[in-house]
């Protein structure tokens, strides 16, 4: 079995209101060195196959067409074989 962990985050140029709210709360709580927070998504996909190249190709397509909105988001992913 293969597990793909997909990370979707807002592009650096896009304002992240959730991140701003968390940043401001952390500062309020005394975490003085916190400079910025960005909120993203982690999506785990399980594949019932063991060919990493095949899974990688599928994950790339899934990310580009569904999981990330190319207007505002970037994505990356890890692929690992799990038992």
């Amino acid at each position: 079995m293969i597990k793909a962990s997909v990370f979707v985050k807002l592009k650096p140029s896009v304002l992240d209101p959730q991140g701003k709210a968390i940043t401001s709360k952390l500062t309020e709580l005394g975490y003085d060195s916190v400079m910025d927070v960005r909120v993203g998504k982690v999506i785990e996909i399980q594949f019932d196959e063991s060919d990493k190249a095949s899974v990688s190709e599928q994950v790339e397509k899934i990310c580009a067409t569904m999981l990330a909105n190319p207007n505002i988001e970037d994505y990356s992913y890890n692929i690992e074989i799990v038992e």
């Binding site: 209101p17 999981l67 909105n69 207007n71 505002i72």
Partner: protein
């Protein structure tokens, strides 16, 4: 006028939308998202609600329904498509309109009456409505913060594709009148050929007697006039 209103799982303004068009004597009918027959419409509507629960992002999963493929083909042939609220999100996700509706800058779901200013009368959607007309139309969304890159924004502005902006009651467009952080106070945009419109406000919630505002009626009347004039 024949109107086909699309129902996805989670759409909840489809019946209101049918009622509004029926008030004008239009032949308005529901089309299920798994269907491919659009029923030969003059206008297709993606109504408000939360298609697929807005999972992942508003409209992100709805775009894979068979009916959307047909609507894209229909729009490609010059067909008219209206997306209201969640319908606007679906239009951006499926590529019929540019940009993205991001989470409101205040992070809240906002459900309240707002004023929008009509920017350009030269579209089927604003036909006969003077530029600068201010309408009181409710909004109800958490992801209505319109975002697009600088070049895309310029293109929309240069080609008079921003049809509605959030304003105050007197038509002043400023930060105070912007409920959700939308670039340039954008509340609604149309396609390059002007035949696809997406807007976050709900005109169908301001088009029945007895409601707080009936200003939405003006937009539906504009459509009627456009169709009457274009035969």
């Amino acid at each position: 006028m024949k109107v086909s209103v699309i129902t996805f799982p989670g759409t909840n303004c489809d019946h209101d939308t049918i009622e509004v068009f029926s008030q004008f004597g239009d032949d308005a009918t529901l089309v299920w998202h798994q269907d491919r027959d659009l029923k030969n419409p003059d206008l297709v509507v993606f109504a408000g609600g939360s298609a697929y629960g807005d999972y992942l992002r508003g409209g992100a999963l709805a775009k894979y329904s068979p009916v959307v493929e047909e609507v894209i083909k229909y729009a490609g042939k010059g067909g008219m498509v209206l997306g209201l609220c969640n319908g606007f999100q679906i239009l951006t996700e499926c590529g019929l309109l540019p940009g993205t509706l991001m989470i409101n800058t205040g992070l809240d779901f906002i459900c309240e009456h707002r004023h929008i200013r009509v920017e350009h009368p030269n579209s089927p959607w604003t036909y006969g409505i003077a530029a600068g007309t201010v309408l009181d139309i409710p909004i109800a969304h958490k992801e209505g913060n319109f975002h697009i890159d600088a070049a895309g924004l310029q293109e929309l502005e240069d080609n008079e594709r921003v049809l509605f902006r959030y304003s105050d009651e007197s038509g002043n467009v400023n930060t105070d009148a912007n409920p959700n952080g939308s670039l340039n106070n954008i509340a609604g945009i149309c396609s390059a050929n002007k035949r696809v419109l997406g807007m976050m406000p709900h005109p169908e919630r301001a088009a029945f007697p007895g409601l707080k505002s009936q200003d939405g009626t003006q937009l539906f009347k504009a459509l009627q006039s456009y169709f009457a004039a274009s035969g």
